[in-house]
């Protein structure tokens, strides 16, 4: 057995070191060995090359048939939670703005309401489209803003962090009252409710802009925050112009 390692095993050097082995074989064994060695080497090398080519081709075809990897955020992710909650939050703003745009007689109020209504409807469409593509619930299923609490506590704890109502949302009674008024009382209450509504949405936007798992969600949260920050100033100014004070900001 101790001789095995030194035994010339013709196939082994050919497979292991195709480039150098043949020369040695030729020198040691002459013409006949050369012929046998070359054909084995040729077949082995060709098989290896063909294998590589087939593999590369299959790889290319696979790469072509696959769509680029996209991040599908988890059902309890920040991205999904933000899109679900902000859809609800926006819908109430759209409801108030749509009503006021129709009923108010103040041109500046009607214009502001139209701007809010159209812009937020568009944004709802984006968020609903993403949820749909991701195969997630289009609306919250277990309270609101649990996605913020969970992430901040660093755990995957259950539904303990959810709120029954988001900050800034108008109550049923407030909406009923709004929809019973006409200008100028309607305009003032609209500004007050919309200001508080915007203020209440900002923490969600801030949080999602920083923590959402998907770039488009981080971006829209950031852009909402930028736009609503500015609009908060505008609403405050318009309230002051009409001699009214803001409602207490949501805690």
């Amino acid at each position: 057995m101790e001789e095995v390692p030194t035994t010339p095993a013709p196939a082994t050097p050919a497979a292991a070191t195709p480039a150098t082995a043949p020369a040695a074989s030729v020198a040691a064994d002459g013409e006949p060995r050369q012929s046998a060695g070359w054909s084995r080497i040729l077949v082995a090398a060709a098989a290896a090359l063909a294998f590589v080519l087939v593999g590369a081709t299959v790889g290319l075809l696979l790469a072509q048939s696959r769509t680029p990897a996209t991040v599908i955020p988890a059902p309890d992710s920040v991205a999904v939670g933000f899109c679900q909650d902000m859809t609800v939050h926006h819908r109430q703003a759209v409801r108030m703005a749509g009503y006021v745009r129709n009923i108010s007689t103040d041109p500046a109020i009607k214009r502001l309401a139209f701007d809010i209504e159209t812009g937020q409807i568009d944004q709802i469409g984006r968020m609903q489209g993403w949820l749909n593509i991701w195969g997630r619930d289009s609306l919250p299923v277990a309270g609101h803003m649990g996605w913020m609490a969970e992430a901040s506590h660093g755990g995957h704890g259950g539904s303990g962090g959810s709120l029954a109502q988001m900050p800034g949302m108008a109550t049923h009674d407030e909406l009923t009252r709004l929809e019973s008024l006409t200008s100028p009382e309607l305009d003032t209450l609209f500004l007050q409710l919309m200001l508080r509504h915007h203020q209440g949405g900002l923490p969600m936007m801030d949080y999602a802009a920083a923590h959402a798992e998907v770039g488009v969600v981080r971006n829209i949260a950031y852009q909402m925050q930028t736009a609503q920050d500015e609009e908060i100033g505008l609403l405050t100014h318009m309230l002051a112009q009409r001699g009214a004070a803001p409602l207490p900001a949501p805690s």
Partner: protein, 268 residues
């Protein structure tokens, strides 16, 4: 020792076999054919793949995406200014001391010009034309002395009826054509310039480049008459014009509340 003997025997046996065999030209030929075939298949597949990559890269070069947030960076000559902090509102009686002509950011009238594919025949007031840029529109301005006839028709045909596009003459424009989107401007000599389409594709409703994502280009009902919009004012702004940092809201105590992000109080 036994293995050594065997080895010798095998060796000599093989030698004799090889010697007695004719040279394996058949094997060589078969191997070459198989290799050529495999090489051909790979080459074809690679070529297809490469063409597809190139085609897709060309198609999406100017498409805004998370990894391509400002495709206008690829367009030569685009001037960029960050107007994020210059978005106040003014009223119909005020003028803004714009820093660029045509302006492409800064305070603006709270009434936005219709930007839903409107071709304005006469120059329109700057303060109204800046607001649509904030909503994601692209504004094509042209010098009416330089752009006429076919060139003018070519531009109009790009804009007419297309949302988030608007076009208007701009007297004394220093180039024949100037394209504006929020924070971006490109001045050009020719209506044939391919950069016009590139600019529009890169910036129109680009959600990474304008602050009011989803903003409409339809005018607020009753606020805007596309047939007689407020006219352009070519004189220098008066001393009391609203500065670039001005408009409503100003930094005068109407600042929004701090938006540090505490987690909501948990109730469960």
């Amino acid at each position: 020792m036994a293995s050594g003997k065997t080895s010798k025997a095998v060796r000599s046996a093989r030698s004799s076999v090889v010697v007695s065999k004719p040279k394996p030209w058949g094997t060589v030929a078969a191997v070459v054919v198989i290799l050529l075939f495999a090489g051909g298949v790979f080459g074809y597949a690679y070529n297809q793949w490469d063409e597809k990559q190139e085609r897709e890269a060309a198609l999406k070069a100017y498409t805004p995406a998370e990894d391509n947030q400002d495709p206008s960076d690829k367009i030569e000559g685009v001037v960029k200014v960050d107007y994020t902090e210059a978005r106040g509102h003014v009223d119909a009686t005020q003028r803004v001391a714009y820093d660029k002509f045509p302006p492409f950011g800064g305070p603006h009238d709270s009434v936005w010009a219709a930007c839903n594919g409107v071709v304005y025949e006469k120059p329109v007031r700057n303060e109204n034309m800046v607001h649509p840029l904030e909503h994601g529109a692209v504004w094509i301005a042209y010098n009416p002395d330089d752009v006429t006839g076919e060139a003018l028709e070519a531009l109009k045909s790009k804009v007419a009826g297309q949302t988030h596009l608007m076009m208007s003459p701009y007297p004394s424009l220093d180039k024949p054509i100037s394209l504006q989107s929020w924070g971006h401007q490109l001045k050009l000599d020719s209506a044939d310039d391919p950069r016009i389409d590139q600019f529009i594709r890169a910036l129109r409703t680009n959600p990474y480049q304008h602050p009011e994502v989803g903003g409409t280009c339809d005018p607020s009902p009753g606020t805007w008459n596309v047939d007689s919009p407020p006219p352009f004012v070519g004189t220098d702004p008066p001393p009391d014009a609203v500065p670039m940092t001005g408009g409503v809201p100003q930094g005068d105590g109407t600042e929004p509340p701090a938006t540090d992000t505490p987690a909501p109080t948990t109730t469960g």
